[in-house]
């Protein structure tokens, strides 16, 4: 909405109003980036080390370094969680959109009340070898000792981590898709049905193309979030292989301050990947409009 130019003259520059918020964000992010880069090249004043070197980069990117294992693990977990969440969310949203009711949206929002940390803790209590499901399996006589129950959390393949993310991201993506489907004023679906399209054809040629931009943008957001978050893999993962953020933090908290450089290199790489994904996601969101 364009305002008459005259009115703008009365009101001082918008940048004055933006200044407090922008300053605090830019100073903190700028300082964080500056120190991250400085420490990644070995400039750590606290231990009197002021020589710039790229040793940490070389050590991190060395073919035998744990970085590659962790990168692979993080990619596997993020891609598997994102793909599974998107598929389930799509099915759920399509199913819910065929039914009326705000109740379901409210119910999905309920999921917001549980931060990722709590949700992971719940999963731990449900799925661990002495958890609720193991107890139920035992009382049905399916297993006799706790060790018989499959290792579903703190497992080598990240199954617990993936399950945790699916539980949190399905409601998020389902609401995103649902809001697109519900905002369609024309019932393209009904038109297609009248033209003789069957259920599968309607889904394939009408519904999915409609929601695809929003779904892809949402999925990329989810991917970036999962790829860079620490709590869930730290709680539901194992020591090896560990997710990239866990590896970065381990280096960072190492009593040997020189290890911090490697932690910073990994953190910068994570940030770079997430930023690229975010830019792609933003582009997709724009194309929708």
């Amino acid at each position: 909405m364009a305002l008459p130019p005259m009115r703008d003259k009365f009101i001082f520059s918008p940048w004055i109003s933006l200044a407090p918020a922008l300053t605090i964000i830019m100073v903190l992010l700028g300082a964080s980036l500056f120190y991250a880069v400085a420490e990644s090249v070995g400039y750590i004043n606290a231990i009197g080390q002021t020589q710039v070197s790229f040793d940490a980069y070389r050590a991190t990117l060395d073919p035998s370094s744990e970085f590659w294992t962790s990168l692979g693990f993080s990619l596997w977990v993020s891609i598997a969680s994102t793909a599974a969440s998107s598929a389930i969310a799509l099915a759920l949203a399509v199913w819910l959109s065929e039914r009326s009711g705000n109740m379901d949206t409210l119910a999905l929002n309920w999921n917001l009340a549980f931060p990722h940390l709590v949700w992971s803790v719940a999963l731990l209590l449900f799925l661990s070898q002495s958890g609720l499901f193991a107890r139920w399996a035992a009382s049905f006589g399916l297993i006799s000792t706790t060790a018989d129950f499959p290792v579903l959390v703190r497992d080598r393949f990240g199954i617990g981590i993936i399950l945790s993310y699916i539980g949190k991201e399905v409601p998020f993506l389902a609401i995103t898709i649902l809001s697109v489907l519900r905002s369609q004023s024309v019932g393209y679906d009904v038109v297609a049905e009248n033209l003789g399209a069957n259920r599968w054809q309607r889904l394939r040629y009408v519904t999915i193309p409609q929601v695809l931009p929003a779904l892809l943008a949402g999925s990329l957001l989810v991917f970036g979030f999962i790829f860079s978050s620490y709590e869930v893999p730290a709680l539901l993962g194992v020591g090896y292989p560990r997710a990239l953020p866990s590896l970065a933090l381990r280096f960072f908290l190492d009593p040997d301050l020189r290890a911090r450089s490697e932690g910073m290199v990994i953190s910068l790489i994570i940030t770079l990947i997430v930023l690229v994904v975010a830019v792609v996601s933003l582009r997709m969101g724009e194309r929708k409009e």
Binding site: L3, I11, S13, S17, L18, A21, L22, I24, I25, M26, L28, L29, A31, S32, F34, Y35, A36, E39, W95, R99, T105, L106, A107, L108, N109, L112, A113, F114, P115, L117, V118, W119, V121, A122, L124, L125, F126, S130, L132, A134, R135, A138, T146, G167, P171, F172, I175, S228, Y230, E231, L235, P245, F252, M264, S267, L268, I270, T271, L275, A278
Partner: protein
Amino acid sequence: MKRFTAYSLRVVLYLFLVAPLLLFVAYAFSTRWFFPQPFPVEWTMTTFQRALNDSRTLSSMAQGLWIASLVSILSLLLALPAARVLGLRKFRGRQLAWLLLFLPTVIPPLAIGMGLNILFLRIGLAGTIAGVVLVHIIPTLPYTIFTLSSSFARFDENYEFQALALGASPRQIFLKVTLRMMTPSLVVATLFAFLISWSQYLLTLLIGGGQIITLPILLFSAASGGNPSTIAILSLLFVAPPVLVIAFTARQLNQHGNEIREQY
């Protein structure tokens, strides 16, 4: 048959959503629930009461509440003027301002916290409430601004000019017109800034440096090797404010929920 499938699918969905809460209650209020008993046999309040009387739990809650309150007030004060011009004005560089304010939602807290760690140590902010509040503002501010600016975009400034023409002072206009009309989104923005801060783990850990202990930090260390009852009780205390807020703002959530939920 079809109706039955729909019905049972919906039951599964709802069960999935309330299951964590039921599980926490079962673990928190029971005692001597040994493997392989499928359900608790002995219910008790004592474990819960003992946890509530534990000074560590109490002080972590108090500290978390205090930090989250400061964070939400500060975010609101910083966001209000910014959201107003972003919602109401078109100016050169608006896109750039949006982009800069959008950055904290994509840059991982891990990178932010690690980068700021040494600086905060050097200027004496590490391990202090002030330092933790300052870093919590990074993730809360964008969401506060997004929520408020989308509401300002629907705000009609002519009400303010009307009040001005009728002789109201700038203060009166701000308090009685602007704030009054913005109340619903102000409430939502404040509550969500509060929740984002309340549930922040990594930034508190990296900047608080073990001296600022909030509930998520206690819960995380309990979950890495504590007993299930303690974990469940801490989880219940941790989700109590979010559950109340979600129940309270259910209606507004349909508008703003998805902007906030990813960070949260």
